[in-house]
Subunit: 273 residues, 2 copies
């Protein structure tokens, strides 16, 4: 499995991806799922990938190879992130068209997804989600983030915290918590975490970091979050209306009728013999 | 969609289910997904259901109809929860066998799951998960809970809190938080919540409650949890190593080489012309 998330904030873009891949539980490896393309002062682009690893790697390699032909439209010369997403979707379709018949013959899933974001001079930062079919959508202010892979466990904290005006350090913290929740509940998502933080209008990617197993900052976040949750949970009000009475093990007609009138859920009692 | 959860604790069993059903986004209704069968002093059984509503309702109705024939083995006379799970799995298979060809002809999913738990005199409380195929598994101390339906959003808090020795009021709180997380992230799970709390060796079900939209206790839990999470999040340490520098928009060779030696993730720079 995989977990990748990217945020589009006023202050910039945050990208993060895990590194665990698995082809069955007996074949687990570590592969980077983040690729960045930077031409300082002109463009900074990050791609996150999930799904079939051969498909996603080949699509990105195809995108990279295009970049060596300066006479063609490629990731280095197009003047819009929309064009970059279009190129990436095209590379994905091309690889799938080539490989699909062979993979499907082996009952192998060809699905693959990308998040691609960044900034090219002349545009604000933009963020896209490229579907397995090569079409794509763009993040807007209403939902300023995308996730791919194992998305559910890490979504609630993002829903609660992330707004377009969220500052980058807070956004990084949120991404750490999101990964912590995901890795606790799905063993197929694992360290190291690749993290990239792009500052709006900087056109560089200085804030790149790989957090290995046992990374002190991630460990501190994970521990503090866990302890904090336990404390908040302990402070929640108890349900006063439940389990207050010691209940007799033998039928008690008075209590029986009383309890039934209190409860709003019908009890199926044994039918008369 | 649906969310149901049941916990098996030393102190007893806790069951909870939402009430929202949907057949497409334009056909959303409210149906109870909890059924209880109580013969005071002898047995108390609760069934939670998810999946195709006609399948689950008909399976439980079949189980109930069996109970009217006192000469047959039925939910009222078998002497083990294992037998109850077997009967329920059999009813599910029977309904599916009858309905499957017709539903599949209309491309309608026939899958259905049950959680069934309770206590029959002579046994400790037991909890089972009945799969769509009618086979089933039993909860053990290692994983003292089952969930069906939209399970992921509400699982982390259960993973963190629930142990066999957890007391019933704390378990109820945990279930409330689990539902709050689920309903925030999936609109197809909704109030009212049916809640049943069975006290070990009581053989009654006095703690049954339906929490409607706006229920004061659930609202209090939801609000306190949300505020508590925000406070914990705010108290987490900031990532000191990120976004500290104001980054020049024009290339700066010193910073460039410095930043690249710091970063562990390779940057794809523009190839030479």
């Amino acid at each position: 499995m995989t977990y990748c998330v990217a945020l589009k904030l006023n202050a910039g873009l945050v990208f993060a991806s895990d590194s665990r891949t698995n082809a069955g539980v007996d074949q687990i490896s570590s592969f980077k799922k983040m690729r960045s393309f930077v031409n300082r002062g002109d463009r900074a682009i990050v791609i996150l990938s999930s799904g079939n690893l051969s498909i996603t790697q080949n699509a990105i390699n195809t995108l990279e190879m295009q970049g060596r032909h300066h006479d063609e439209r490629n990731i280095w010369n197009v003047d819009s992130m929309f064009d970059v997403a279009t190129l990436l979707g095209g590379c994905l379709r091309s690889v799938q068209n080539t490989d699909r018949p062979f993979l499907l013959a082996g009952n192998i899933d060809v699905s693959a997804n990308f998040i691609v974001g960044g900034q090219i001079v002349g545009e604000p930062p933009r963020l896209f989600l490229v579907y397995s079919e090569g079409n794509f959508i763009e993040a807007t202010e209403n939902t300023p983030f995308f996730q791919i892979g194992e998305i559910k466990y890490g979504k609630p904290i993002i829903d609660r915290v992330i707004r377009p005006e969220t500052q980058l350090p807070e956004a990084i913290k949120c991404v750490m918590v999101s990964f912590d929740s995901t890795m606790r509940s799905n063993v197929s998502v694992g360290m190291p975490i690749d993290l990239a933080c792009y500052v709006t209008d900087s056109y560089v990617l200085d804030n790149l970091r790989q957090l290995p197993e046992g990374d002190p900052y991630f460990t501190a976040i994970s521990g503090s979050w866990s302890e904090g949750l336990r404390n908040v949970f302990a402070s929640l009000p108890d349900p006063e209306w439940v389990c207050q009475t010691s209940i007799p093990a033998v039928p008690d007609l008075f209590n029986q009728s009383q309890s039934q009138s209190q409860s709003q859920a019908p009890i199926q009692e044994i039918p008369p013999s």
